[in-house]
């Protein structure tokens, strides 16, 4: 009696490649995250929000920028200059 289906014999083998090369898109994304996050927590005095708000961004909170005040405690604790 004939089979109602065919069995296909397939030889497969698996190879494992290890690659040292970091994809350029990943490298760019991580470097951008580093630059942006480091600037926001460590150095921003209002520059980032000034892109949308102009000069007002430099004195939103007690005469200094919003991000400066929001990141204030971590800025001190991680060694960045502050006042």
């Amino acid at each position: 009696m004939p089979n109602s289906f065919d069995i296909e014999m397939v030889n497969t083998s698996q190879i494992t490649k290890t690659r040292r090369v970091v994809p350029i898109i990943a490298a760019v994304a991580l470097f951008a995250l580093f630059g942006l996050g480091y600037f926001v927590v460590g150095f921003d005095q209002g520059q980032l929000f000034s892109i949308a708000e102009g000069q007002m961004a430099y004195g939103q909170m007690n005469g200094v920028g919003y991000l400066h005040e929001f990141t204030h405690d971590m800025r001190h604790a991680s060694g960045f200059p502050c006042h």
Partner: protein
């Protein structure tokens, strides 16, 4: 390399370590910040800039609660930022680091990066609590600090290339970095602000903040190394049909 897996483990390791850093800071660093800000408040009362009233303290309490919440969030942001650079350098240098285990490799790299990007700059420009920094010198202090971190980091990178190329006498690379950073210590201007805050408070703050920053680097390395062992983002399996 599996790009998404790689990005995911790098960011998640940085985020978790950063949140850990932010949370332990609330417990152990914030008391120093509160004391220093208390001195600032007393100065404002003495100089008549504000009144010592219940309304002031209510507003102040709300403001400080918001800043402490901000400290945890910014710990996460800084963790992602620093962890991204750490993950990127780890991916490029993993094959050069000694050992088989990625946790050990990550801990070794974290030690080097902690020294180059945090501890050596800290020795030149130590962390200060509020009340020490003069708002009029912030641009100079921020510029010199960023420049010193960049020089130290690029110096470490440059001399690591030399270390790789040297067949013998690898100590020359360490010596070269020491001479380079020693020269930068002398050339770069000191922090211009005079410290009038009690030194016991300043030194206690510096010690505890250095400990929590060190803890951050250790935790980031442990998480990234462990995740790298689990996920193996550098390994690609391919099935070939014959």
């Amino acid at each position: 390399m599996k790009t998404l897996s790689f990005l995911f483990i790098v960011v998640i390791a940085g985020l978790l370590a950063g949140l850990f850093h932010g949370i332990i800071n609330v417990a152990v660093v914030e008391p120093y910040l509160d004391r220093a800000i208390g001195i600032e408040n007393q100065r404002m009362f003495d100089e008549g800039q504000t009144q010592n009233t219940p309304q002031f303290w209510q507003q102040f309490s709300d403001y400080r609660t918001w800043q402490k919440e901000g400290s945890v969030v910014s710990g996460g942001i800084l963790g992602i930022a620093t962890g991204s650079l750490f993950g990127l350098v780890f991916a490029y240098s993993r094959h050069m680091l000694p050992g088989q285990n990625n946790v050990k490799k990550a801990l070794l790299l974290a030690t080097i990066m902690w020294a180059a990007l945090y501890f050596i700059p800290f020795l030149k420009y130590p962390a200060n609590p509020p009340t020490v920094g003069d708002p009029h010198t912030i641009v100079l202090r921020a510029t010199t600090y960023a420049l010193f971190v960049a020089l130290s980091g690029l110096g470490a990178f440059g001399f690591s290339r030399l270390y790789k190329k040297m067949q013998n006498k690898k100590f020359v690379a360490f010596l070269g970095y020491a001479v380079f950073i020693g020269a930068m210590f002398v050339i770069m201007p000191p922090n211009p602000d005079k410290i009038s805050t009690p030194m016991e408070l300043v030194n206690g703050f510096r010690a505890i903040s250095a400990i929590t920053m060190t803890a951050y680097w250790i935790v980031n390395a442990l998480i990234l190394g462990w995740l790298w062992n689990k996920v193996q983002p550098h390994v690609e399996n391919q099935e070939i049909q014959k």
